[in-house]
Amino acid sequence: MSAERDAGVVGDLSHLPDTAIGPRNLIWWGTLGFMLIEGVAFLLAAGVYLYLRGQAGPWPPSSPPPDLAWGTAFTVLLLLSEIPNRWIDRRARAHDARAVRIGLVVMAVLGVALMVLRAFEFAHLNVRWDHDAYGSATWMLLFLHTVHVLTDLGDTIVLGACLFTRRIDPSHFADVDDNAGYWSFVVLSWLPIYALVYWGPRLL
């Protein structure tokens, strides 16, 4: 103990917990940083769309607007997915291993279903990316968002595989919480993109 006194030790940190969840958790802050980056990219991509619209005459210049059905179906399912997503987040914070495992399966299935709808969305945009700048901007918005859906779907599947094959410890609950937070970002960022891609050609 005398060595510690010599070093001027005035307190002890070993009583502190060794995990945390939500905004206290380190990973939450990292995810926040990446959501900021991606959020800025979405905003700029939306800016590109609006800028090009400002330069054009009629909008869309020479193609029918995208069909509403698939995009709206995707939006409704995406919004509904927030219900199990928020539930899973609450169960993770309550350290409920069984509920979290079931929830991740549900989210993975929903993610796959959303990707199927997304494929139909691309097929019903009624414009190709190489038709004109309007087509390029529309495809860019949808492509950027699709990358995010895929990223979180991949994360959900890997996390699920991990939680089914080993004993769950508290840090895994923090990962589930983090994954759920990112999914909420994927949902929220879709709403302005949906408005632009589907209603922009009708209203702007």
Partner: protein
């Protein structure tokens, strides 16, 4: 070495040899690599500049032809901006931030390693094609439509665009890491209001990077898409717009200047404090002006585009905004002068670099005020006046403080001091040569000499000032060679430094030089802004000795929160960078690279995040 130090050092050491080299997550080692590579490129891109100066020394020279000259200024500009200035500031942060925080590593050690490997990928992305004679040749911004598929067949423009992607991924990873490290890894008691100014500077820089860099990634991705899959973002005939390219580029490009400059202000604040033996004058105004610069920097980009024919109101607005940023920038300068004035300055090499910074940056700032004015800018744009201005701001405003910082922290990193005498010789040669080289360019610009010309006829009368500028460049290059030699020779021959050779005020000076793998034996407890000057150095115990653990504190008050497991050496960051790099390189040739390349990337990221057996 005490048994405690030994035990901690064992816990935080890398495996020996090549394995350790490839798997290290030690922030000091990663930062050292970053710094060595950026310095090597600074030398290389500097030599490219000397090559251009030789070409312009006399009228009518034909040694570098138009194509060679285009490649030279493209390599020089892109290299200096993307591969030297921004990464070297990040590297200094990666090395310094944990040490200033009394911490054992960054928040995300493997992300740190990934950032370096991606950066190295960016370096190879431009230099390997250069060796194969596929050098980008459209300047550092590669405006569309010149860079589009119609005017730039081949792969020179793709090489440039993908180099950007690599370096921006690296920079964004480093910035998120720095941001979270400063917000959550401060030692107990280091509230936001007690942070050293350098940490404020890096906090603001990392946020600026997060907001600015997506713009350049987006615009280069759009360019690649136009070239690869025939989108029409910049194709006017199909509803695209070429000015859009400039808007996106400069939305990034202008903040980028401040992303380089604000860390330099952090170096200046640290150096004046130590060498004037008093806390830096005006802590609160300096922090507020750093924030103001960070915000205003996003409202200025259009002043790079005055010549594109924008609406008149736009020109007036951006002229005003550009003039306004002189206020917080000027305020900082007055605070540093006040610190020197009211302190007891010791004019060692680091402080001399600060003085050179103040003088040079003020000159660059004043020529900036001139070019900020739209009517004057229309006369000066694309002339050597702008070349002079931007080098005064970037070299004077960022590199001079960087050289000072290099000399200042060199003993902490190596355990030895650089030679003062040779340091002063290199100082005078670089500062003198720089001014001799760049001041005449103001006059050349006013005489009408355009930028980016590879030669000029004698009757222009530009010859005499050009030979002066070339002589200046040669003198500065000699000074730089002495600086490098001094740094290399002092590794062995320099005076032994000890923990705190300069009498510094911040926590990094409380540990050994060079710091052990774990940086600090105990967690420091901070009670004011200059912990080492107020004495006592109270410390906290309780972090694990036999596994890697970091202390997390609350974001504002820095109260102890919890102990976070910190990952050890891992090969996954390297494998992930290789997979991502293969995808980027492949996507120059085929869009399918994005689809097929995503599979190895997914596999590598899964390996990265899959919990280790030991932990579960």
């Amino acid at each position: 070495m005490s048994p405690r130090t030994e035990r901690l050092a064992r816990t935080w050491s890398d495996p020996p040899g090549l394995r350790g080299f490839l798997t290290t997550v030690d922030h000091k080692r990663i930062a050292a690599r970053y710094i060595v590579v950026t310095m090597a490129l600074l030398a290389l891109d500097g030599l490219v500049a000397v090559d251009m100066r030789l070409q312009l020394a006399f009228p009518g020279l034909q040694r570098l032809h138009a194509q060679g000259f285009n490649e030279a200024f493209s390599l020089h500009g892109s290299g200096m901006m993307f591969l030297v200035s921004v990464p070297v500031m990040e590297a200094m942060a990666i090395w310094l931030v944990p040490l200033m925080l009394g911490q054992r590593n960054m928040a995300f050690p493997r992300l740190n390693a990934f950032s370096f490997w991606m950066y190295l990928g960016g370096v190879l992305m431009i230099w390997v094609p250069h060796i194969a004679n596929v050098t980008p040749d459209l300047g550092w911004f590669e405006y569309a439509p010149l860079s589009g598929p119609a005017y730039s067949p081949g792969h020179r423009a793709d090489v440039w665009a993908q180099m950007i992607t690599f370096t921006e991924v690296a920079a964004l990873a480093a910035s998120v890491n720095t941001f979270v490290t400063i917000m959550r890894l401060r030692p107990p008691g280091m509230t936001l209001a007690r942070m050293p100014l350098f940490l404020w500077a890096m906090l603001i820089t990392s946020l600026m990077t997060i907001f600015a860099l997506p713009a350049v990634m987006l615009v280069t991705s759009m360019l690649i898409a136009d070239r690869l899959v025939a989108t029409h973002f910049f194709d006017v005939a199909a509803g695209g717009d070429v000015i859009l390219f400039q808007h996106l580029f400069w939305f990034f490009g202008h903040p980028e200047v401040y992303i380089i400059f604000i860390p330099a202000l952090g170096f200046v604040a640290a150096i004046v404090e130590t060498f004037c033996r008093r806390p830096t004058f005006g802590y609160v105004p300096i922090v507020l002006s750093l924030v103001a610069i960070g915000v205003l920097a996003f409202g200025l980009w259009v002043h790079h585009m005055f010549a594109t024919g924008l609406p008149r109101l736009g020109n007036s607005l951006y002229t005003a905004a550009s003039l306004v940023i002189a206020i917080p920038a000027g305020l900082q300068i007055f605070c540093y002068i006040a610190t020197i004035w009211s302190g007891r300055p010791r004019f060692r090499t680091p402080l001399m670099w600060v003085v050179a910074f103040i003088v040079t940056f003020v000159i660059g700032g004043l020529s900036g005020l001139m070019t900020a004015s739209a009517p004057l800018d229309l006369q000066l744009t694309d002339t050597y006046f702008v070349v002079a201005h931007l080098h005064y701001v970037l070299i004077g405003g960022a590199l001079f403080p960087l050289f000072g910082a290099f000399v200042y922290w060199y003993p902490k990193a190596t355990g030895r001091l650089m030679s003062e005498a040779w340091g002063k010789v290199s100082f005078w040669l670089i500062v003198g040569g720089f001014n001799l080289g760049f001041f005449p360019m103001h006059l050349l610009g006013l005489m009408g000499m355009p930028r980016r010309i590879y030669t000029y006829p004698p009757e222009t009368g530009w010859g005499p000032l050009n030979i002066v500028a070339t002589a200046g460049a040669a003198i500065a290059a000699l000074g730089a060679a002495i600086f490098v030699a001094n740094a290399l020779l002092s590794l062995r021959r320099g005076a032994v430094a000890g923990a705190d050779p300069w009498g510094g005020s911040t926590l990094e000076w409380s540990t050994a030089s060079p710091p052990p793998p774990h940086n600090f034996d105990y967690t420091p407890l901070v009670k004011d802004r200059t912990p080492l000057w107020t004495g006592g150095q109270p410390q906290l115990d309780g972090l694990a000795l036999d596994r890697r653990e970091l202390l997390l504190t609350t974001p504002v008050e820095a109260l102890p929160d919890y102990r976070q497991r910190s990952p050890g050496p891992s090969v996954w960051p390297l494998l992930t960078a290789l997979a991502v790099g293969a995808m980027f390189v492949g996507s120059i040739f085929t869009p399918w690279a994005l689809v097929l390349g995503a599979l190895p990337v997914g596999a590598a990221v899964t390996g990265w995040f899959w919990p280790k057996r030991r932990e579960s």
